[in-house]
């Protein structure tokens, strides 16, 4: 079971959390202006890197707040967790499927 460092509560076991998939995908400001391909890209396409991945997590059974995390998908090591709306100190490995 992962040990996840909630930026608001500190380290807590994985069962208190829920993962919300890839981070830093902002909802488009004007969806109506997007063509089908661009909308599908936003809606469905997600990175699946072997390596450092930026993810959204919510401390569901704790403070119920969303935050972001950099996790190495190979080792499951959490490199850092950081608040919504902020950027990590290093880059994730981006969209590679």
């Amino acid at each position: 079971m992962l040990l996840i460092d909630c930026p608001y509560c500190g380290p807590r076991p994985e069962i208190e959390f829920r993962c919300g998939g890839e981070a830093h995908i902002a909802r488009p400001a004007d969806p109506a202006a997007m063509d089908d391909a661009a909308w599908a890209e936003f809606l469905f396409m997600r990175a699946n890197p072997k390596g450092v991945h930026a993810e959204r997590w919510i401390h569901q059974h704790g403070c119920q707040r969303w935050f972001n995390a950099l996790r190495d998908t190979l080792s499951d090591a959490f490199i850092e967790t950081y608040e919504m709306g902020t950027r990590p100190s290093r880059a994730a490995e981006g969209k590679s499927t």
Partner: protein, 995 residues
């Protein structure tokens, strides 16, 4: 001592002052405290202890520890306490303990299943796949049941387990697994650094190999003295937790380690309420693995006869348990460690011969010493077979040269000690995703790069010398505690080193030999070679095809022999063959321990409304909806479900019904931007909804599919009372929180779940207003003043009340929201007031029928996560003027606007008495050959007393264009003709709700 003919007159760690007796297959056997079931069996000369898995060959003990593959016993502690597949070596002797052997019929001594041994050519690797190919229908009914019955390992108990099992969570700085020399010295180092230390060991006593290495010395004194002193020191420290009888069975992410502690089975009188076993979930800062090594058997023909065991196990039984596994013991080895066992056996007064595969030159030193002790030592000898049936009576050996096998010689014996080298127990290291490295000098995989804060020490990383184990353990313990600290230990030299051997040289036809590699799954060298010949070249495929390493012992004794054989046969180095993946559990764990307290009432929380007890007192039957128990229907004497539901449905339309709607999810959306937030989350418009009014809201996921629905009341400009489906409450709150926190953090909105705070009493029917009028204060209930879809804050008797005029039945209706503590009293007040009007409580089944009569959907029943608003006829719910809301853009996705989507319709059976099954498939023409194209399926189907016929809702491709058309629905009796209709069956204009 005559009752224990193989008990040695002195020595051992048993307590001869504490005699006890156990039973084996009903026979009483005596022993001492400190014995195991295995040592007691051997003390009585009971060498035959089980039958093998496939061939039902007679089997005895192979080892003395948790790697034992053969001696699986069923322990009977009374009804519900029958525990199969216990390794005899791990069962602590306890006065009165009853154990039975397994996998034989009619008896252990005479097992008819042994016919499989004679027919063994039929049972080669993959024989199930090859033999039971056809007829296909025979597989389910004949082959598989017969195979399973024949091949079982033990029998599961039939009664419920009456024992308690505990779960505990713990944190520590340093977790040390294994309390042999390396683990103990690691604990010393970490404890001295003032770290919190857990030291766990699966044995009854801590000490590992020191418990049976009686000749070893540490720091100038006997190893046993050092052990006692070290344990005393550790016990005295309050930063150290010692857990004997505790197996670390799994290593998971971030140093989360699963332990199972055997708490009560060894106690003659367990205190009331004590758990039988306890699972510990430990989160360790650092882990030190001092898990030791497993000895390998040698692979030769008939190497599985009872009495043939591992050399170090022979040593353990003699030294630790004071039991002679035999009087005439032959050791067969390819390495040095067996010489220590042979010397100890000789010192115990037993007749000892040693056969070494290696050249005289390689083993000259240890051979000379053993000969000096008076034992015959044969070097450069192979073992080509064994004699005996239920107990080994001779070992067949022959000198061998480059390509020649010399004359055979039979060494009479009643016990054989095998040593084929050692395999470090890297299971937990590998489970923690550490990388292994093949070390040719010891012919084994050893820990290499760790993936977590895990380090291995001692035999677990291939270090076999005692002084080196102690030093390595100390350094590892210190490093785990964040210190650099080396300490030297002086200890007696350890005999180490071996020459890897495959199947031993022989000139017999290998096709006719049974040389076992995996004892528990009856896999022979021949099976593995056959698998390779048939093209199974990956080690993972060989494992699955032959089942080598797949039994409950997980191949602890067999894996390296199998790998070596694969490598030799394929002429590849072992690192290229690789090793199979190690997965938890390291050793079997009972289901009871894993389940722990999570059973019966603690299995899952149950949610009950404040009105639950009233419903139970009034005879309600209940159904589970998510975690809720909901009143299903209220049968009167003599009524079945259909009659009760019909009466309840009629009452709601003819007079007045009473329904507990408390389980509806409720969320309060409050704040300056509450209306804007609602506008973005729901498909319809909210900005202009006046306070005091309600609106039905529909919510989509971003992909355009329906997520949830419910009535929303605007209580004030900045306050909405949202209702959701019963099962969707948490999902909707999560959905709202996600958008609020991550997409629109600038909105000032607060979301609060209020599901549990308000009891909801639905009063539905033409008489509803008359019933509630005397109970409500502060509202003009006249229909003009308080119309359908309005809300008022008022008082219900003494309670504050949010009174909704809403209807899920299509009748004049109210939903009375009172604080949960007032729920039951308010319900009883309505019920009393309604008596004059024939008020009838109804349950969820009538609620479903009533809403279906009016064609109201239930999200999750009419929808399945791929339905759009238009699919269910709710296109009108989409606010065209709104530029955006969650899911809006997706409604224009090509697939969502394509023709031919399934649409909600009604289905009327030609036979009005026939009620379709929900889930029934709809086809155009029953004559179409199978597989016929499915047009859709029935989503809701009921008997409607109000319509006096059956009604059904269905989703059918292009359904709205098919109204009036004849289709067919599947029933258990064949196809039934149905006519497509609009999805409304009662009050089609919807007038009654305004009454």
């Amino acid at each position: 001592m005559t009752s224990q003919p193989y008990r040695l007159p002195q020595g051992g760690r048993i307590d001869r002052a504490s005699p006890l007796s156990v039973s084996f297959n009903g026979r009483r056997l005596s022993g001492f405290a400190g014995d195991t079931m295995a040592s007691i069996l051997l003390a009585h000369g009971q060498v035959l202890v089980g039958r093998s898995f496939k061939y039902h060959r007679p089997r005895g003990l192979l080892s003395h520890g948790s790697d034992e593959p053969n001696a699986l016993l069923s322990v009977d502690r009374g009804p519900g306490r029958i525990d199969p597949n216990n390794r005899a070596t791990m069962i602590e002797a306890l006065d009165g303990l009853a154990a039975h052997s397994q996998n034989h019929w009619p008896s252990l001594d005479f097992d008819l299943g042994v016919v499989n041994d004679a027919l063994s050519s039929l049972f080669a690797a993959g024989f199930y796949y090859k033999t039971f190919m056809w007829p296909r229908a025979f597989w389910d009914r004949l082959y598989e049941p017969a195979i399973r019955a024949a091949a079982g390992l033990g029998v599961a108990p039939a009664a419920a387990d009456p024992d308690r099992y505990g779960h505990r969570h713990a944190h520590c700085d340093v977790l040390i697994v294994g309390a042999g020399p390396a683990g103990l010295s690691a604990a010393l180092a970490a404890a001295t650094a003032d770290k919190s230390v857990f030291l766990v060991d699966e044995g009854v006593e801590m000490g590992g190999a020191l418990l049976h290495d009686v000749s070893a010395t540490i720091d100038g004194g006997p190893a046993a003295a050092w052990l006692a002193e070290t344990l005393t020191h550790l016990r005295a420290r309050d930063n150290v937790v010692l857990l004997p009888r505790t197996t670390a069975f799994g290593s998971y992410n971030h140093n989360h380690v699963g332990l199972v502690e055997r708490v009560a089975d060894h106690l003659a009188q367990a205190p009331e309420g004590l758990a039988r076993e306890r699972v510990w979930q430990v989160r360790a800062g650092e882990v030190v693995l001092a898990t030791g090594a497993h000895e390998r058997p040698l692979v030769f023909a008939d190497n599985d006869r009872p009495g043939i065991m591992l050399a170090d196990s022979v040593r353990s039984f003699i030294n630790r348990y004071a039991v002679a596994p035999g009087r005439r013991i032959v050791f067969a080895t390819n390495g040095a460690s067996a010489y220590a066992a042979a010397a100890d056996a000789k010192a115990a007064g037993l007749d000892v011969t040693l056969v070494d595969i290696r050249d005289e030159a390689t083993c000259v030193k240890e051979a000379a010493e053993l000969r000096l002790a008076g034992c015959e030592v044969l070097t450069r000898h192979s073992v080509v077979g064994s004699k005996g049936r239920k107990r080994v009576s001779g070992l067949i050996v022959a000198r061998f040269g480059d390509a020649k096998i010399g004359a055979r010689r039979i060494l009479d014996c009643d016990c054989v000690g095998l040593s084929g080298g050692w395999t470090p127990a890297v299971h937990l290291f590998s489970q923690s995703r550490g990388k292994l490295r093949f070390e040719p000098s010891i012919d084994a995989f050893v820990p290499d790069r760790a993936a977590q804060a895990v380090r291995a020490a001692g035999a677990a990383r291939g270090t076999y010398d005692l002084a080196a184990c102690l030093a390595e353990g100390f350094a590892a313990g210190a490093a785990a505690a964040g210190r650099v600290s080396d300490r030297g230990f002086s200890a007696s030299a350890t005999l180490t080193g071996f020459e890897p051997a495959g199947p031993l040289p022989t000139d017999d036809d290998p096709k006719r030999l049974k040389a076992f590699v995996d004892f528990q799954n009856d896999v022979t060298a021949k099976d593995i070679k056959l698998a390779l010949r048939e093209g199974f070249e990956s080690v993972e495929h060989v494992k699955r095809y032959t089942t080598t390493g797949m039994a409950t012992d997980q191949g602890k004794t067999s894996n390296m022999n199998a790998l070596g054989l694969i490598a030799r046969t394929m002429e590849k180095p072992i690192p290229e063959v690789g090793t199979t993946t190690f997965r938890p559990p390291y050793a079997p764990v009972t289901f009871g321990a894993l389940v722990g307290p999570a059973r019966d009432v603690l299995f899952d929380p149950v949610r009950k409304t404040p009105i639950h007890d009233w419903a139970a007192e009034h005879g309600a039957t209940f159904e589970n909806v998510a975690l809720w128990r909901r009143a299903w229907y209220f049968p009167k004497a003599g009524e079945d479900e259909r009659a009760a539901v019909a009466r309840e449905c009629k009452a709601a339309r003819d007079a007045v019904g009473l329904f507990d709607a408390t389980t509806l999810g409720k969320i309060e959306v409050v704040g300056r931007d509450a209306a804007e937030f609602m506008n973005r989350i729901y498909t319809n418009a909210w900005l202009k909804l006046e306070p005091g009014r309600c609106r039905y809201g529909l919510m989509l996921k971003e992909d355009g599919y329906i997520l949830d629905d419910g009535v929303v009341a605007r209580l004030a400009a900045d306050r909405f009372h949202v209702t959701t489906t019963t099962g969707g409450a948490a999902r909707v709150l999560n959905h709202m929180e996600d958008y609020l926190q991550t997409e629109w953090p600038q909105l000032e909105v607060f979301l609060t779940s209020i599901t549990e705070q308000w009891a909801v009493i639905a009063v539905q029917g033409p008489k509803a207003r008359d019933v509630i009028r005397p109970l409500i204060e502060g509202v003009d209930l006249d229909k003009e003043a308080f119309p359908h879809m309005a809300v008022r804050l008022c008082r219900f008797l003494d309670a504050p009340c949010r009174l909704f005029r809403v209807s899920f039945t299509g009748e004049l209706g109210y939903e009375i929201n009172v604080p949960a503590d007032f729920g039951r009293s308010a319900w009883e007040a309505v019920y009393a007031q309604g008596q004059a009007f024939g008020i009838t409580p109804y349950g969820t089944q009538a609620m479903h029928v009533l809403r279906a009569e009016r064609g109201f959907i239930i999200v999750g029943q009419e929808t399945d996560g791929t339905m759009t608003p238009d699919d269910v006829g709710l296109a009108g719910m989409i606010a065209k003027a709104k530029p955006d809301f969650v899911g809006k853009r997706s409604l224009a996705r090509p697939d969502l606007v394509a023709p031919g989507r399934k649409q909600l319709v009604g289905l009327l059976t030609d036979d009005p008495r026939l009620t379709l099954d929900e889930g029934a498939q709809v086809v155009a023409d029953p004559a179409t050959p199978i597989p016929a194209p499915m047009l859709g399926h029935v989503t809701s189907s009921y008997w409607s007393a109000n319509c006096d016929r059956s009604i059904a809702l269905a989703v059918v491709a292009d359904g709205r264009n098919l109204v009036g058309r004849k289709l067919h629905a599947t029933t258990p009796a064949g196809f039934a003709p149905v006519t497509v209709s609009a999805p409304v069956f009662f009050d089609p204009k919807g007038e009654r709700v305004h009454g």
